[in-house]
């Protein structure tokens, strides 16, 4: 079981949180820490790239929802990059497709932040 978290600033002033591996009750605190740190630094427009995520559960979804709520308080947003059909299905059945912008690639997710 593993989670990889990589944060980078893209050329268009957005911050990208690139995640890889499995996001569950054990690993989601690490994801939460990364997102919270960015928000605490004043970055409210985020792209969270889930392309390399193989698995996500409700605790992972909870972290993403918590991040979205916090950035929205500052007029920001969180866009997701997700191509894995199983993970897309989870967003679909929970109705989260309606509150997150979900994109097939990072360029689209960053463009939609502008």
């Amino acid at each position: 079981m593993d989670i990889k978290v990589h944060v980078r600033e893209s050329e268009d002033d957005a911050y990208v949180v690139e995640l890889g591996g499995e996001i569950d009750v054990y690993t989601s605190p690490k994801v939460k820490d990364a997102i919270t740190e960015l928000i605490d630094q004043g970055h409210y427009n985020l792209v969270i790239n889930l392309e390399k995520v193989r698995y996500i559960d409700s605790t992972g979804l909870g972290v993403l929802i918590g991040g979205l709520k916090r950035v929205r308080e500052h007029g920001g947003t969180v866009n997701l990059v997700c191509t894995n059909p199983q993970i897309k299905k989870i967003f679909d059945i929970t109705g989260l497709v309606k509150i997150f912008g979900i994109f097939d690639d990072e360029a689209g997710a960053k463009k939609a932040l502008a």
Partner: protein
Amino acid sequence: MNAPETTSEHLGTVELRIPSKPEWVAVARLAVAAIANRLPFSVEEIEDLKLAIAEACTMCIQQGGGTESIDITCEAATSHLRVEVRDHRYRERGDAAKRPSVIAVEGEGLGIFLIQALMDKLDYSVDPQLGTELVMTKRVGA
């Protein structure tokens, strides 16, 4: 005259006990996936099962108030997989203490919603004093 319709055949029962800690949930998830792989489930159905069992274990941990362990019992049949997930307080109370019906939980979250969506049948009971128990079934090819 046609032959009678084939009924579901019990294939076996697998029992697993994990510590009630987040780092062990992945073990339950992978074990159930291995069991499900012995039945003619699709890859997508196995992914559904993995998530449902992990959500059940997470509920036991989050509702358990320091519970020591989680028991997972998988009953495999030709037509379905039935999985029971319960924290150790159920075990200590014994069969006589088991409640026959489901007790609805207030404030149920995303986890229980996901299990209900991914499995074909779910009975559950969450009680801060009595413990957490979920019994769920997924039918093959449903």
